[in-house]
Amino acid sequence: MDDMDDIDDIIAEIAVDNTPAETRDLQDLTRCWVAERIAPEMLAWPHDVVDRVLERIRRQIELVEDQTGSMDPKTNFKLIVVQTELERFKFLVRGFLRARLKKIDAHPLYILAQHNDSSRSGDLNPLLSPSEYQYLTTHQSLLSAHYKSSFLGQFPASLQRLDDTTGGVNMIDRPDEDAAVFVRCLKDVGDLAIEGTGSSVDIKRGDVWVVRWSAVRRWVEAGDLEVI
């Protein structure tokens, strides 16, 4: 029972909007980082969070640079605290970006198709940031050039493609959308039907469930559920 209360506290804290902006940025960033590492699919690029955090990092670095050299032990101590915080922020951003790159490298063609869909439909949050898009396309063209010069170039023309879907095997690898994830409910979702099993679960605020990703993807993207 005690555990349950703890979680309720945390959720209540998140819901109240009077937390200072700094704390909220950190919370958002941490949530993005956790979600990106756990969700089997690529999540939309949270440009506002990243922009805010990068701005903070830049200001902190400036502050550190300004104040080093001061001999006052008090400032020195403060600087150490600031720098420690800075290292942690950097770690989160780094982990977040690397998690995304890893997914890009694992399923490039699938993600590229998804990204094109999202940017065509005029979505405000495209799947990839511009530099990630550039990384993906450049890496992909490097790889295909490499394959081509190594062996594909000598293949019969009908077999040279890398995104062939004929012949019973789809060459475009997809992430496992049915992988299990832990989710915590932030808002009442109600009955959630799990496709293919015929069963449904009633998800209430504060609940923690293990479900397949494809069943909860919509609510995670909307922010009603969070992966943990």
């Binding site: 990068l54 080093t68 420690t84 770690f91 490499h146 190594s150 293949f155 019969p156 077999l159 095997v169």
Partner: protein, 219 residues
Amino acid sequence: MYGETGFKLVQAAKREQALAHLPPYQTELVRATTREVRDLDKDVASILEPFAGSFNPSSEPAVACGLLTNHLCMRRNKRCLLAYHRTRTDKLDEMCWGGIDVLERQQQQVNRAGGGEGGAMGGEGGSNSNGSSLSPEEEEYVRQYSDLLAAYKGQWTDVDLTGSLEPPKDLFIDVRVLKDAGEIQTEYGAITLTKNSQFYVRQGDVERLIQQGYLQRLS
């Protein structure tokens, strides 16, 4: 036998996954597999030739079956080749991320093999003439991938993307110098890193040097 060289390639790929270094590129196997695909394609063409474009699979089940086998073998060989090359490029990517200069290391290997055993060269050179374990195509790939990586990292200068993925616990750490690394600049002045000396430094300042093996972290 059909597919045998492809199978060997996949076995090699599987083995490479567990190794820390990159074994020599299987030029011969790759060539043999590619040749097999071309031969099979020629077979298909010659089987289809007498039908002059009006082949009906249901009237000639035996021929259709032969064609199917050829097709599947070609596709399988393609998958094997792709798997082999992908495993290797993944490994190369990983090395680039780890800050290992792959090309330089290859160069060193070549030099060692060439310079060290001057007299015994003749007998050794059979398997791999230039001593490098990368194919020329792979070397080109590594060069371009490092450029790509540098370009992407350049947009995140404040964060240092190749840094450690372990959560930072302490701002300052104890390190021991394993190899002379010259002088480095920190906010607290310059430090000269001479072999076997020990320092208490900011982790962010020496991260790269630890990765490159100049320093060892003391816990």
